[in-house]
Symmetry: D2
Subunit: 362 residues, 4 copies
């Protein structure tokens, strides 16, 4: 009888409930959860800020666990069979249809209308389909990945869902060796973006964020400069970044802040004909005044919205994490572990920025 | 003693003055002007809306003429020598330095700070460096192009500076065969963008603009649908375009309207993961409210500012014009010819949208 | 009791057999065949030149038919339901897995090892899975496309499998407006490539091939120049193409010849830093001597192999065909129609180049 | 009276001669040479294997020196003025015209027919235009770069001309984070490619080369695996690399071997739809048999020839070198320093692979 956290609706207190141990369909896998991520999206879910969420849900979209049970043979993307006891993670996005216009013509699978997401758009009434639970039911066809040998469950979960999100953003930036990079925002996505930009050949990385502990961590993750938004005005930040980049602004700027106001500032932080990736505006936090002549047209700017991530991002992000275990102190991102019963506290701590990364350990 | 129109400063009436016939430096060419373009930028110049303009100037950045005099041998890009009497045009942008960071590292030559522009950033005190003149002095190194055999001076000037601008925008859109395209704006840039999008393999082209005569011309230029902004609300236009594109919005949208409000609308006219090129915000017409979550991030949108044009755009645009002389009625874009003495009238007619394209015929 | 052509093995005479009318699985569709394509691949199949073919097979990979029966609701990619009587085609490639490394990480679905192809890698023992048949069984999930209103079955089949193949090649060439293009080979793929290159904005198109009737057709399809390989040496052809392109060679060259020797020639026909797409080497016709210094490295050449096609190519190719019904005389590609009983004759006529395109009309 | 090495013609012994100290044109700079590179190209020059070389020449295309004299103000690309005593390098390629079709339309400046190269296509009769000399005359407009603070002249010259060449190759490979990479060849270009591929985010790097000391150095530079060509057959190497890449071959393969036979092997080492960059075929070493069906078409391969390098490659390569001073033991590439009088010995040692990198120290 696995226990799991249930979020019952917008603003309602989360509770822990008992679930029946599921019977596995052919091709399904039951994971014994080791860790599950708590991220800003979970706070949005708690407040009911995302549309189309089928409450009650079991939160937790990025998780790592041990295979406890399988029905039939299940293989990884390289054709290697999984065994009981394997430590794995999985792509939270499932049921991408492969049949619709977005899948087949645009090849923009993160915009497939059929896709559903563990911990977000599956209901608790449908089963153990979220990670804040002692067990997770992986439906047939869910894409499962082995952790690389040198990536422990703890290291993996320190990246959490910020890692593939940041990977997608850095990938979409088509960074070139030697580029100057600015990352706006020092939460998990921003910190992972700093690390990945460095690993991908950035010539200089500046983090713009707060509070100071996060900026210090960003420096440990590879940032060359840290600019606190608590002690600077937007104008000062633009001047500072331009000073670091020959007066021009950054070749690449990655927005991972969640603040609409950061978007205008980011356009100014980016050089003419530079690339600005916007990945941090995951929920609707309102509008901002933009001057299309000054900020876009005259600058000959490339702006790239970045939504969701797909299997390739997780697959490649794991490789990069494995590559950098010795050089990036990934685990320092985790501030605290929480039991299932402490999940409400975890949400509150994330929301109030008391922690960088909260991890559920069922 | 060539006569030329002189714009003396913001808001001052234009006058016609007499200039000395210049002595040619080695490698220089003197053109006898056949036609010169009047475009929206000239109205901005008249009102002093562009920064850094060294009044007095001779307006006219895109022109066509006959070679009247040369000092030494001058060759085109293919190495063919020009002869007295050749009918040619030239790239208005000159003195791109080839030595600065933008030229050498970013390879973004349209952002070179040294570049100067005939008819805009050269002063009349420096010579006959604008097209509203009986003669144009082409400094050594100015990039001169022969008109293709089947492109008459009149056909060429009908495209004017809108043609390379639209070419750059369509090129930057990386259109794929069969794409649905929306063009916002039915001035010369928008009309040229319609023609070029069709010639580049668009599957369906919608023009959004006004007044009706321009929309009718857009249909002659290849638009499949025309949506009048005089008889629709922005919401109706979004609904209309989505109806034409399977509910999704256009694969590619090209903004050539000059209106900041059009930018938000354009983001909504473009499908998720589509491409939105912003080329029409040539001067600062103010700001607009954008919701970065709704309009950029969640849409996984590509937004590409597009500034200026370079030699390759003019070179290739001429090929496309030559290709389409029989299918696109280019010359219909010209509403009226004006003498040098009528230049003030031309500016007024362009500003009040009384004409699609005004042409100076010295 | 539908009748179908059966190819029993390498070199064996094709026969016509009777098949049971299949019972439809849920989501399956039965097509009443209108036309099916005969292409060079069918000759290769006849001679046993392709590996892994599960003889006996029913040939015919690109076909058009009328929906005779459906089990349950079936929708197109835009979500519109198919009805009995609809005239449709379908993607011959099926069972692309969406689960393997090539599908998920490389996103190179045409290299998915699970994919199977109607008329090629399905056995006649598995059912009516080829187009040279009175009826075709479309398994659940086969991707079906409606013909555009102005594209008749006859027009559609004139493109046959050459159209999506050529589409993929031209798409992969990332042609820019005004580019000079050379197409090597004047079979169906080459002719379609000529038409599509023109529709995609090529500035100048040269076809290199034989015999003369095909070159004449290429000119009707949009070629500006035709060079016969029957009356020229490779050196003369290189000189001719360079003469047409300022001495440089073509910006883009598309190999659709099937001859290994053409590959070296194609590298010479392409300009330095140009793009060379190789799409015509569908079977192993042996090797050729290449000088990597002269032909690739010093030329800074881009060479792009092009294998198979996916749904987007067929979808977009249909749009382009619909666009060009009035300007490209597609149907002239069809030389003759054949009944099922004449299939052996069709194979022989294709092999001996007696016809441009042979069509099976059951 | 600066002394300089003179190469008088194909196969003739190099001599050291005395040159007049040049009078500087306005904008020219005189460098006091610290180090100059000896590379494989110099051996080719010695044997007369390159066309169009205006013997006698002063060899040495990549060098580092101290500014001894300037005529007028000279600035770097960021606008900072050079001072006497500054330690700098410069782009060996000069006189790229900025006026021809390749410069302006193709934007392929490394194919500009006007470009000339210090140490290769300038004659000794024209002055001190090569690096194996006590002084180097930098003509007005030669693009000069300051060494970054933490890059010593010795570190810089250890990369030599292999560094920008490898940079261009890795840049052209459009490597994505996590890609598996194979580098063919363990000379200076191959070793630099290993280091840069790692710095650019490669997931796994294999070097294929010889002798063992170079492979050991490759491992120090970041290779995960080293495969000796002295102890394996081509078939074994293909099998080995496929074993390291899930049976598929590498995502990216970079040829830096100089051997035509390596090109076929490289196509087999690269996975289907992978990218193969050919940069090592700098001179004509003959032809090789390629099967276009097997090696290119069916593989859906991308092959990219890579010729020369431009300013951006040197500029960015210097940033990457500065970035990696602590992690890549660049200087270990230098086996021995040679005086001007020992230049003949240096050529012989490079040719016989007795050294990895030979450096001239005048």
């Amino acid at each position: 009888m696995p226990r799991a956290v249930v979020m019952r609706g917008a603003g309602e207190r989360v509770v822990v409930g008992d679930f029946d141990r599921p019977t596995l369909q052919c091709g399904a896998v039951l994971l014994e959860t080791i860790y599950s991520d708590v991220c800003g999206t979970d706070c949005h879910l708690f407040h009911g800020r995302l549309a189309g969420v089928p409450y009650p849900i079991i939160p937790g979209h990025v998780s790592v666990g041990r295979i406890a049970e399988m029905n039939g043979e299940v293989h990884d993307v390289d054709g290697r069979r999984f065994e009981i006891g394997d430590v794995v993670t999985f792509l939270d996005v499932h049921e991408t249809c492969g049949q619709c216009w977005f899948c087949l013509v645009a090849k923009a699978t993160t915009r497939c209308p059929k896709r559903r997401v563990y911990g977000i758009t599956y209901s608790a009434d449908e089963g153990l389909l979220g990670g804040w639970s002692e067990a997770i039911y992986l439906k047939p066809g869910v894409k499962i990945l082995r952790l690389p040998e040198n990536v422990s469950p703890q290291t993996f979960i320190s990246g959490g869902c910020g890692l593939p999100t940041a990977f997608h953003a850095v990938d979409r930036a088509t960074l070139r060796m030697g580029d100057t990079v600015v990352v706006q925002g020092s939460g998990p996505v921003g910190l992972c973006a700093v690390a990945l930009a460095r690993l991908a050949g950035a010539g200089h990385v500046t983090i713009v964020g707060a509070p100071d502990q996060r900026l210090d961590l960003a420096v440990e993750f590879g940032a060359d400069e840290a600019v606190s938004i608590e002690r600077t005005t937007p104008e000062e930040r633009v001047e500072r970044v331009r000073g670091l980049t020959g007066g021009r602004g950054a070749d690449v700027c990655i927005e991972a802040s969640g603040s609409p106001a950061a978007v205008v500032e980011g356009m100014e932080l980016t050089r003419d004909n530079g690339t600005y990736v916007i990945v941090g505006q995951y929920t609707d936090c309102g509008s901002v005044q933009i001057n299309p002549h000054v900020h876009i047209n005259r600058k000959h700017l490339d702006i790239r919205g970045c939504w969701g991530s797909d299997f390739s991002h997780v697959y490649r992000a794991l490789i990069m994490m494995s590559r950098s275990v010795g050089t990036v102190p990934w685990e320092k991102m985790i501030t605290r572990h929480y039991t299932l019963d402490e999940a409400g506290q975890a949400l509150e701590d994330v929301e109030r920025l008391r922690v960088v990364k909260a991890v559920i350990e069922p």
